[in-house]
């Protein structure tokens, strides 16, 4: 019965998934199947992908999208050392204060600072982007159906609209976006960034790297979680097996 209920629950969730993406202007294309390094019980983030993803974020996404839950200190996860993190943080200009004279002042970023937002507020963001506020990307990999794969698909899903599709002016066609029309123009181009590690910067490569980076931004404790999970479940299996033996022994005189 447990199993049936779980299946029911899963069916319900799948039901939600399929209903959530079916929107006014037609259902989005089904997402491609991509395997990620962080998938599975042993999943881990690939450090090279993370570092390249950070570069894509800084050089492309950060022009419009904030990443407000990520601080420079968190970049230790990307295997940057303390000096590198200080250097990365110092590129940012942070408004601090008030100082002893009551004045706000500008200073270089510190590892404890969070990534700066490209706009002062949502109104400014909307004014610069044709009325649409570019969403914060910190949790994007968990905030859309399909999760990280949706981000990858969106990055690579820009195509010419079908002949019979009426695209509103100022919007862009993307086969994976619910409704197919979105304000964001295709952000990635071949060699749009020049990777520090020399990896060829195809659109596909950049899309993969930014996806891995944003998954890390959304779920920074994923590796700790999976490692802990393996230990916990391993312990529980042994304990439960022992309890079963004890149960059999105690009940033996009743049967």
């Amino acid at each position: 019965m447990m199993k049936k209920l779980l299946i029911g629950a899963v069916a319900a969730v799948i039901g939600l998934s399929s209903s959530g993406s079916a929107m006014a202007a037609g259902a989005a294309d089904p997402l491609p199947h991509i395997s990620w390094s962080f998938d599975g019980v042993l999943g881990k983030y690939d450090r090279a992908e993370l570092q390249r993803g950070l570069q894509v974020y800084k050089e492309v996404c950060a022009a419009c999208h904030s990443l407000r839950y990520v601080a420079y200190r968190n970049l230790v996860d990307l295997q940057y050392n303390e000096d590198e993190i200080k250097a990365l943080a110092s590129e940012a200009i942070v408004i601090d204060g008030p100082d002893d004279e009551g004045e706000m002042f500008e200073r270089e970023g510190l590892p404890s600072d969070y990534f700066p937002s490209p706009f002062d507020n949502d109104k400014a963001a909307a004014a610069s982007n044709g009325g649409a506020v570019p969403p914060d990307l910190s949790l994007m990999a968990k905030a859309r159906l399909g999760g990280p794969t949706y981000i990858y698909a969106l990055m690579t899903g820009y195509t010419d609209p079908p002949a019979d599709f009426e695209l509103m002016s100022g919007l862009n066609y993307n086969k994976y976006f619910p409704g197919h029309q979105l304000a964001m123009a295709a952000p990635l181009f071949d060699d749009g960034v020049e990777y520090a590690d020399g990896t060829p910067a195809t659109v596909d490569q950049q899309a993969r790297d930014i996806t891995v980076f944003l998954m890390w931004a959304a779920e920074p404790k994923l590796e700790e979680r999976k490692q802990t999970g393996l230990k916990v479940i391993g312990f529980l299996i042994i304990m439960t097996a022992l309890l079963y033996v004890v149960k059999r022994k105690i009940w033996a005189d009743l049967h």
Binding site: M1, M2, K4, L5, L6, G8, A9, A11, A12, V13, G15, L16, S19, G20, A22, M23, V41, Y69, N74, P135, S138, L139, K142, A143, R144, L145, G147, P178, A218, P220, K221, E224, R225, K226, T228, G229, L230, V232, I233, L236, I237, M239, T240, L243, Y244, V246, K247, K249, I250, W251, A252, D253, L254
Partner: protein, 433 residues
């Protein structure tokens, strides 16, 4: 504790004389006689109690880090996920613990339905169980609002709005629930306060539930009363160890979800901060509410009006009545099912069929609750809702004409095939080892 050395301890004797708590513990938790034939479906009661404790423990720890203030509530949850030591674990355990609490309790309820555990003399035990379910639902609903994501906010808006359907005082009640004229910070504050309070009320009702249980003891798969000591065994060690083994299996399944699929049962929209200006395309409650959500939406507009020829209640109110009615009707079950036979094992195939159709009907309602209200889903939802209530009507009439079968003469008869020795109360299992 039965060890006489312990009971002869001076301090123990001093306490025992003033408050016989040790004797009570011995009687209710150690010697407590339980039927010897309980199967694994009987594990889910104690399991539900343990899940409640897990929820309270993780909840108290989360409350130390969470900030119930609308502008920062979402941020504070993210801080728990990122900066609090093992905060991600506390949060994922608590979040998925709610789902598993409902899975366990739903199984526990279907167990009661199948084996007739609600029947005389356990009616009050059953009713207290329904009260527990209602409290769980209220608690889970308010807890889901606290992260202040999009689904939190809009779910709160939809559900609190239901109360506006109540004639005359509806709007006043909604304003009072909100603490204002829309879902906002005062709503979040009171929901947090109530979300912290209700689990303790729940705990108290669980205590009453156990009190009522211990009056006559557990029902059993045969549904017949114990005839003597040979039919019962002491709770400890037999059921303590069996429950612990069941707990182990449960924790393995639970851990698989918590550590490897923590967001699988949730809505992605709740990782978007609440925005009163942007309505999600589909507002859906958590999966465990979907059957009731389906019933709420099943009542057609003006159905009752056009059927009765005049408007008695509007569709929204009728939907709300149907939704709450679907739970309240369970309280009357002991008087709806009049058959003296408790266990489905000794009832005809008609009742077994009725039970399984009802079970599938609940699953169908859950499926429909997650679908948009359009096309075939509306039709199926209405049929499934109608059947949900019709089930009880059928049960009422069918159980009155039920032909009784011969029941086993005692619990130990089929277990020991007639010739067993009375093990039970006097067995000392560990001494055999």
């Amino acid at each position: 504790m039965s060890d006489s050395g312990f009971m002869n301890n001076t301090v123990v004797k001093w306490i025992e004389h003033r408050m016989p708590i040790f004797a009570w513990t011995q009687k209710e938790l150690v010697d407590y006689p339980a039927p010897r034939n309980l199967n694994y479906w009987w594990n889910f009661g104690s399991l539900a109690g343990i899940v409640l404790v897990i929820m309270i423990a993780t909840g108290v720890l989360l409350a130390m880090q969470y900030t119930p203030y609308a502008p920062v509530a979402f941020d504070s949850v993210e801080r728990i996920m990122r900066d609090v030591n093992f905060g991600w674990m506390l949060r994922y355990v608590h979040m998925n613990g709610a789902s598993f609490f409902f899975i366990v309790v739903y199984i526990h309820m279907f167990r009661g339905l199948y084996y007739g555990s609600y029947k005389e003399p356990r009616e009050l035990l059953w009713i207290l169980g329904v009260v527990i379910l209602l409290l769980m639902m209220a608690t889970a609903f308010m807890g889901y609002v606290l992260p202040w994501g999009q689904m939190s906010f809009w779910g709160a808006k939809v559900i609190t709005n239901l109360f506006s359907a109540i004639p005359l005082v509806g709007d006043v009640i909604v304003t009072w629930l909100w603490g204002g004229f829309t879902v906002d910070n005062p709503t979040l504050n009171r929901f947090f306060a109530l979300h912290y309070l209700l689990p303790f009320v729940l705990f108290a009702v669980v205590f009453l539930h156990l009190w009522a249980l211990h009056r006559f003891g557990s029902n059993n798969p045969l549904g017949i009363d114990a005839k003597g000591p040979q039919d019962k065994i002491p709770f400890h060690p037999y059921y303590t160890v069996k429950d612990l083994f069941g707990l182990g299996v449960f924790l393995i399944l639970f851990s698989m979800v918590v550590f490897f699929w923590p967001n699988g049962l949730g809505e992605p929209d709740n990782y978007i901060e609440a925005n009163p200006l942007s309505t999600p395309a589909h507002i859906v409650p958590e999966w465990y509410f979907l059957p009731f959500y389906a019933i709420l939406r099943a009542v057609p507009d003006n159905f009752i009006g056009s059927w009765m020829g005049f408007v008695l209640v509007d569709a929204k109110l009728a939907g709300v009545i149907a939704m709450f009615g679907s739970i309240i009707v369970l309280m009357f079950l002991p008087w709806i099912d009049k058959s003296k036979v408790r266990s489905m094992r000794f009832r005809s195939w008609r009742f077994k069929l009725l039970f399984w159709v009802f079970f599938i009907d609940c699953l169908v309602l859950g499926y429909i609750g997650g679908k948009p209200p359009e096309g075939i889903f509306i039709v199926v939802g209405r049929i499934a809702t109608a059947w949900y209530f019709f089930h009880f009507v059928l049960l009422y009439f069918m159980s009155r004409g039920e032909r009784l079968r011969t029941l086993p003469t005692s619990i130990s008869e089929p277990v020991l095939k007639g010739g067993g020795t009375p093990a039970g109360a006097h067995a000392k299992p560990m001494e055999k080892a």
